[in-house]
């Protein structure tokens, strides 16, 4: 739900090597993308700045900040797209298995493409609202509906096709390119309608996931694996587990019946019930907490026999 702190750099496209000469390209995109935003600010200044009464200027400044951020993403996207069109005209992106060395033209251009895409995706991902991510992916050649939720995981930016209402779980990876030893494998990933991909799972290049499939958490697909319709897949590598019968209507009560944990739950609810604790009063609660802290101190000084 929320982006964790230690992953602060955020999910973005994978990249293997950063050469010094590519940094010039990267900086150029950042620089050029700031120019339209500065022009926007200049217009805003011209229209609303009034030395005697600056109320309107300050009143709409936060709203302008939001607008400026979104337009920064779009201008970065626009410039990166232009660069990308030029690069793709020189050497169109191809699927296949390539050698991982700079003498190989496909590997070299794969690197350049990823570097060009990196900045807009990064800056779109820094925004808590998920639209910008999907728009970036769409413009860079991933076929998705804008309504999909792909922003919790790492999704590659080319050779991927998503269907409708796909969910990609927290920290799961969907890659269309893979480096194995001295080889670079680039293969198209196709994910069809209603597919749910669990947390921490990895989808390798070349996988085809059919409709109504579920790939459970902590599972991995191999290169060019084919997942059949209406099945739940679990494991490393993913194997057929059972038929996905959760796509039928009217099962709400049946699912509830399977396990009964109410007895244990009552015990735990007594410990943490908010209503009971609110009746106790502030001083009493403070006293309880102090007692607990003392218990903790005692606990750490005990020596086992």
């Amino acid at each position: 739900m929320s982006v964790p702190c230690s992953l602060k750099v955020g999910p973005f496209t994978s990249n293997i090597m950063l050469r010094k000469r590519f940094i010039a390209l990267y900086i150029a995109i950042i620089w050029l993308s700031f120019i339209p935003v500065l022009m926007e600010f200049w217009f805003y200044w011209q229209i609303l700045w009034n030395e005697t009464n600056a109320l309107h200027f300050y009143l709409f400044l936060p709203l302008f900040g939001l607008l400026a951020y979104v337009s920064l993403v779009f201008s970065g996207l626009f410039i990166a797209k232009i660069f990308l069109l030029v690069i793709n005209a020189i050497h169109p992106p191809k699927e296949g298995v390539f050698e991982r060395s700079y003498s190989d033209k496909d590997y070299r251009y794969w690197n350049i493409r990823l570097i060009v895409k990196k900045y807009p995706i990064w800056i779109a991902h820094k925004f808590p609202f998920p639209f910008l991510d999907n728009i970036c992916l769409r413009l860079f050649g991933v076929k998705t509906s804008i309504l999909n939720s792909l922003f919790e995981g790492w999704v590659d930016t080319e050779f991927i096709e998503f269907g409708k209402s796909v969910i990609v779980g927290q920290a799961s990876i969907i890659q269309s390119s893979l480096v194995v030893g001295n080889l670079l494998i680039v293969k198209k990933v196709v994910i069809k309608d209603n597919v749910k991909i669990g947390a921490h799972s990895v989808v390798m290049p070349g996988t085809l996931i059919e409709e109504n499939c579920v790939l459970a958490a902590h599972s991995l697909t191999t290169v060019e694996q084919h997942l059949d319709k209406n099945w739940i897949y679990v494991g490393i590598p993913a194997e057929k587990y059972k038929v996905n019968s959760f796509n039928e209507d009217g099962l709400e009560e049946l699912i509830e019946l399977n396990i009964d944990v109410d007895g244990i739950r009552e015990k735990y609810e007594k410990l943490y019930e908010r209503g009971e604790r609110m009746q106790v009063g502030l001083l009493q609660r403070k006293k309880e907490k102090e007692e607990k802290v003392e218990q903790e101190k005692e606990r750490w000084q005990r020596i086992p026999t």
Binding site: L59, K196, A199, S245
Partner: protein, 299 residues
């Protein structure tokens, strides 16, 4: 058709695997909530900027105060965003009260839509606090949104859902772990409360599914998962997919000094017989090194 066959035809509905709690579908209406929160939160900082900064007449003083005032403005902005998102949350919860249970994850279902709106509302402030210069601040947002957490527990490095979770004291959740109280499975949305008792540790990259109850002093190892409604007993080490008992957590109540220490330098080095082809001179070299390790004082 025999009875056995009929039983086999029944759909297997046990949930012994988990998926994710990412929102199912993005809705354009969410944007309507974001703009006022952002605007009103920004206005608090603007009031500070207008009221305070012009009072510093000399440019030296304003330069000196600049870092402090920038930091203060960031904090004010975050606090403003949290405050107004809480206001919206109260309004939304008045319209529809959050509930546990199993619901349809479709466009018409009221429960599902309000669940999405709640998550998106909380997301902006949790995200701002995670990117805040002060590290443990997301606990503040959790408390403000109604999850009872102490400042003794730590979950900033993990994906933790912001409702239907009860924390004990000194809970630690590892990097990249996913603690979810809700899960989307096919056409259904499952919401169930997660209990994390006192002194529990959840390892890195694990996923905790809805309905899990983790007892006092238990440790859930790294890269493992719990299934729906699983109960982990008190003071055990759990590991695996799904989590199974590994051994008793005997370190739970031990004083730190009493843990046995092994001196790595003076540990016994074993001779290794090489089955692999290694040249003669190199083999001698390795043997010499091993002897040196064995008795370092002989030299």
């Amino acid at each position: 058709m025999t009875a056995e066959q009929q039983e086999n035809d029944k759909p297997d509905l046990t949930i012994d695997f988990i998926t994710s709690s990412a929102i199912g579908r993005i809705n354009f209406r969410f944007l309507l909530i974001y703009i006022p929160i952002f605007w009103l939160g920004g206005l608090t900082t603007m009031i500070y900027a207008v009221a305070f900064i012009p009072q510093l007449k000399s440019w030296v003083a304003s330069l000196l105060y600049l870092p402090a005032s920038i930091f203060f403005m960031i904090c004010l902005f975050i606090m403003g965003c949290i405050f107004f998102s809480k206001l919206f949350l109260v309004l939304i919860n008045l319209l529809h009260k959050p509930q546990e249970g199993i619901f349809k994850a479709e466009k018409g279902c009221k429960e599902f839509e309000f669940w999405q709106i709640r998550i998106q509302l909380k997301k902006i402030s949790i995200w701002l606090l995670n990117n805040c210069p002060l590290p443990w601040m997301d606990v503040l947002a959790f408390r403000w949104f109604g999850v009872k957490v102490d400042f003794s527990s730590h979950m900033i490095d993990a994906w933790v859902d912001t409702e239907f979770i009860t924390f004990g004291r000194k809970v630690m959740i590892g990097q990249g772990a996913v603690v979810m109280s809700s899960m989307i499975l096919g056409k259904y949305l499952i919401i169930k409360r997660v209990y994390l008792d006192d002194y529990t540790v959840v390892g890195g990259q694990t996923s905790v599914s809805p309905g899990t109850i983790i007892g006092q002093d238990t440790v859930l190892g790294a890269l493992s998962t719990t299934t729906f409604n699983q109960v982990l007993e008190q003071s055990w080490l759990y590991f695996g997919f799904p989590a199974k008992k590994l051994k008793v957590n005997k370190y739970a109540e031990v004083k730190p000094d009493a843990i046995k220490r092994i001196d790595v330098d003076n540990a016994i080095a074993y001779d290794v017989k090489f089955d692999i082809n290694i040249d003669e001179d190199k083999r001698n070299m390795i043997n010499k090194n091993n002897k040196k390790k064995k008795n370092p004082e002989e030299k």
